[in-house]
């Protein structure tokens, strides 16, 4: 059992970490957009579950993975509109209504699965795609650049999102609305419209994150996401509301989980020690939250409903 530090095991752990990080990353990037515009969405977990079920069921029925991905995006987007109406038009407290969305998604995805599918029926999940040229690299290419297409999408979204937020007029609006909605409003930026767009996009990405999970696994089950959504929210704080920081956080999480699994597989940690290792991500999150709390970067208007004339 001394081979846990060999290059091949390390590369395998890295690849596994990247794969595990993907759903976290997609969901956390979506949450980042929303929070930059001042909206906290705690319902990510529920939206992920609905997106996961949507992708699974659509693929099961049509044998088209592409359609499955599309459905997960649509399901997420619809949930985004619902959440938008609740938090923007009805100005509901964001924390609790998010929890409501979570419970709703948890229940509905299970309900639909039991009524429409029942027995766990596998689907053909996303196959791995090799990146041209990079995929041919010895060692690294084989492990890192042979992933499913949503992995690439997730990591490509990091620079895209950075560009949108920091270099486009829309991104400027998002930041303005997230920091000083009153000022943005007086300059003629529609606070609500901007937030509707960010919530819509953010939830669609959460749906996609769930879809990525279901299609990677080729199966759906009650509570498939098992806390992914909540950790994704914590990653936004971890990453200090910057796409690159969020990516770093997702990678840390993915790598820690992958390492734990490798160690368990190779018999390095056994028995009850596994529980100690199992609480590690949560402890890490709290520690990180304590550390980053001193940093600036939180959108000033986060969780604050905007009401004209206040």
């Amino acid at each position: 059992m001394s081979d846990f530090l060999t290059v091949s095991v390390l590369l395998a752990t890295l690849a596994s970490g990247i794969r595990l990080a993907t759903p976290f990353l997609l969901a956390a990037l979506g949450e980042t957009i929303g929070q930059r515009s001042g909206v906290l969405n705690l319902g990510v977990e529920g939206v992920m579950l609905l997106g996961a079920y949507g992708a699974y069921y659509a693929t099961l029925r049509t044998d088209s993975i592409l359609f499955g991905i599309l459905v997960s995006l649509i399901v997420g987007g619809v949930m985004g509109i619902v959440y938008g109406v609740v938090t923007l038009a009805l100005k509901a407290e964001q924390g609790i209504s998010g929890i409501g969305i979570f419970i709703f998604g948890l229940g509905l995805s299970d309900l639909l699965f039991q009524k429409q599918v029942g027995t766990p029926t596998p689907i053909d999940g996303l196959g791995d795609v090799a990146v041209p040229l990079l995929g041919d690299l010895p060692w690294v290419g084989e492990v890192i650049f042979h992933q499913n297409v949503l992995v690439y999408v997730a990591f490509l979204l990091v620079p895209v999102l950075w560009f949108v937020i920091n270099r486009t007029p829309f991104g400027l609006n998002v930041r303005a609305v997230g920091e000083t909605p009153e000022a943005a409003d007086s300059l003629g930026v529609s606070v609500d419209r901007t937030r509707y767009i960010t919530i819509f996009v953010g939830n669609a990405m959460a749906g996609l994150a769930g879809g990525a999970l279901a299609l990677e696994l080729g199966i759906f089950q009650q509570n498939l996401t098992n806390g992914h959504g909540f950790i994704a929210i914590a990653l936004v704080y971890f990453g200090a509301w910057r796409p690159s920081g969020v990516m770093a956080g997702a990678m840390v999480f993915g790598l820690v989980s992958a390492t734990v699994l490798q160690w368990k597989t190779l018999g390095i940690v056994v028995g009850t020690t596994a529980s100690i290792v199992g609480m590690f991500p949560a402890v890490l999150t709290i520690l990180v939250l304590v550390l980053v709390s001193r940093r600036t970067g939180q959108p000033s208007a986060l969780t604050r409903p905007f009401e004209r004339g206040h």
Binding site: V9, T119, Q221, Q262
Partner: protein
């Protein structure tokens, strides 16, 4: 107001349905069939533990005049306890607490209903009560057979096991599997990974992935979370061995063989005891020699003749007692 009205409507709808449910629980007359109730922790079509009992009750129904009522998905232990007590109060003849985690509750409930027959498992403990049967399986035997076949089929010399929690029949199966592999070739590496969950599909998948990356070309696993692991196995063309129910539906091209729990073996004895008025709490253990355990092979993936012969020889040896798995 409209929103609230809708909400009221929804809740009223749910309550009305619950009301209908209540009304169906009427009493019964003496001529009715034997009423058997089952409380299971996961979905009755989970292709694993709970389904193995539902399938067994179906088979039992071919031989006896029985009426079956199932409450599944009671993973909350106290919900299961309420259901168990409820069935006993409703006058069911036999109440099955299908899950070792329900034993703690059953030991407190059973004494309150001396005229009801309870059975629970997997376990080997009747709490000293005469109305409690306890059923268990020598799942190490099927594990040993699966392990024997697996050892013949691995080319990489590495085999992966995805387990849930190290408990009862699951530990027995996995220990038997490892022993079976080692009996053929002690140099084969068997990596065992207990993921600490019966239901976390994503974790099961990643554990399977870790096995693949460690070089495994054959895997096995137990409990309802294996659907995650079999997905990975299919993707990588890794052979799979099942337990509890026939797991061919999880992958026709990879599932080689499954050990099947035939709980009807124990159930029929309990029903016979009841019919003959000879109820006496005891432990009933299924194994290959008494037919409570059987193997199912995937017809779409036939074994090589010599491998099939080796498996059959092990099964015969276990049956006549000339072979032991060496697992406690």
């Amino acid at each position: 107001m409209g929103r609230r009205g809708w909400l009221v409507g929804l809740l009223a709808f749910a309550l009305a349905m619950a009301a209908c449910a209540e009304e169906e629980d009427a009493g019964r007359s003496a001529d009715d069939p034997i009423r058997i109730a089952m409380v299971g922790p996961s979905a009755s079509n989970d292709l694993a533990f709970t389904q193995s009992m539902v399938d067994s009750l179906d088979r039992l129904g071919e031989d006896y005049n029985i009426e079956v009522d199932v409450t599944d998905g009671t993973f909350v232990i106290e919900d299961a306890a309420v259901a168990i007590r409820g069935y006993a109060e409703d006058g069911f003849d036999i109440v099955l607490a299908h899950g070792s985690q329900f034993g703690g509750s059953l030991s407190e409930i059973a004494p309150d209903f001396p005229d009801t027959v309870f059975a629970w498992g997997t376990s080997r403990d009747t709490f000293g009560l005469t109305n409690v049967y306890s059923y268990s399986v020598q799942s190490d035997e099927g594990g040993f057979i699966n392990g024997t076949i697996a050892a013949h089929m691995t080319e990489s010399g590495t085999i992966g096991v995805v387990g849930p929690i190290e408990v009862g029949d699951i530990k027995l199966y996995i220990d038997g599997f490892v022993a079976g592999v080692k009996s053929v070739d002690p140099s084969i590496t068997v990596n065992v990974n207990y993921i600490d969950s019966f239901s976390d599909v994503a974790l099961a998948a990643e554990a399977a992935q870790a096995h693949v990356e460690a070089g495994a070309d054959v895997m096995t696993g137990v409990s309802q979370m294996v659907v995650g692991a079999t997905g990975v196995a299919r993707e990588h063309g890794v052979l799979w061995f099942g337990s509890q129910t026939d797991q061919v539906p999880l992958g026709e091209e990879i599932v080689v063989a499954s050990q099947i729990y035939r709980w009807d073996f124990q159930l029929s004895q309990i029903v016979e005891d009841l019919l003959n008025d000879e109820v006496s709490g005891r432990v009933i253990t299924a194994d290959f020699s008494n037919g409570g355990l059987t193997m199912a092979y995937n017809p779409g993936l036939p074994l090589a003749d010599d491998v099939q012969a080796a498996a059959d020889a092990v099964e015969a040896g276990l049956k006549d007692g000339s072979l032991s798995t060496g697992v406690e």
